[in-house]
Symmetry: C2
Subunit: 220 residues, 2 copies
């Protein structure tokens, strides 16, 4: 399954995907193409260092023309026969043109325990809200911001001394673990989507079903 | 610190508090009084079995008169010199009359990872939403439904085969662990409230700060 990764930022999730691929953790998913919406995106350099085809489709060239921007993305992708799209810190909301080309084959990673804290720049909101557990979510992309069936989530503590930056770093480590896993499941046909919920085919019982993660930790 | 527990239901969280008290886990908190808003509340029987003073203030006698209901609650509590109030499955939203009597001394347990899923009967919503992590929250009670500074949270997996009842049972086990802990911290003056956030005095570093709880579990 040929995969395109769309990025706007430094590319740390792209790097996690590349390392997972090298470790054989992506199943039948093959990373083929990296697209960035700005030439400032560090992801472009990472892609090139790893010998991956990378292209920039500058969003600024298409202001107020989302459809045109998305058609250009699809044109650039066409020769690569892409089957799955991973949004890895891609800061554009995709519209019907792009979504229709990959039904149930686009995944996004979001730095919060959705449905809490959708949208952009959520870390200051998470810290200010006083939640004790934060986390990350990988979900299938549908119309709407950070909605769509959830594939996997991970929770982390919010520490009393956290600033948005320290919390973001802790959450990012979770993103790096759950995004490759979600991609591997999608590429290997393990995801069953019903009524907006994702079930995982052949999930073995591990005893972890009874686990609980509490923060702050219990005393006494 | 003398504590009143307000209940509407079976009283399983009350039982968890009584067992925690017996095990010496409530610090300086002393359970003194149980109030229910209906004589059908099983919590009343549990309180009497454990030799705790219990009273019913039927909400139905005060329909459309929340202030009157709350004044009656305060009257019943007055002789017991209550300093802390625990809402343990209490299905009434408290208003200014009651809240003003116990500023920052009322806690509530809610079966979700707030701010996600506030309100009543959340388990069907949690299951239908397709989230992979659910949980429970104990927070200080302020004006508003299930808002107020968060003291402690616990997350649990949502299994593919979960129905609202099975998820509710898994979450309830977390409630039983975090509610006594939150009460112990409040009673012993460990909670520092600043800008709507709770910090915990003298929280030792345990190494658990780096823990992550991911669901479904990672493979490979």
């Amino acid at each position: 399954m040929k995969v395109a990764v769309l990025c706007s930022g430094r590319g740390s999730n792209l790097l996690a995907l590349l390392e997972a691929a090298e470790a054989g953790l992506l199943g039948p998913a093959e990373l083929r193409l990296v697209l960035a919406d700005s030439k400032e995106a560090g992801a472009i350099n990472i892609a090139r260092e790893w010998g991956l085809y990378a292209a920039v489709v500058p969003r600024t060239a298409y202001h107020a023309n989302r459809d045109g921007f998305e058609r250009r993305l699809l044109e650039v992708m066409a020769p690569h026969e892409i089957e799955i799209v991973v949004l890895a810190g891609f800061l554009r909301v995709l519209g019907p043109v792009f979504l229709a080309a990959f039904p149930n084959k686009i995944i996004n990673v979001h730095p919060a325990l959705l449905p809490a804290f959708p949208g952009r720049d959520v870390w200051p909101l998470e810290v200010a809200s006083g939640v004790k557990l934060a986390g990350a979510t990988v979900h299938l992309v549908e119309k709407g911001v950070d909605s769509g069936p959830i594939i996997i989530q991970g929770s982390v503590p919010v520490l009393d001394e956290d600033e948005p930056e320290t919390l973001a770093a802790r959450i990012l480590k979770v993103e790096h673990r759950i995004l490759p896993q979600a991609l591997a499941w999608l590429a290997s046909g393990r995801l069953i989507i019903e009524d907006g919920r994702v079930r995982l085919k052949d999930l073995p019982k591990t005893g972890r079903e009874e686990e609980v993660f509490i923060w702050p930790p219990l005393e006494g």
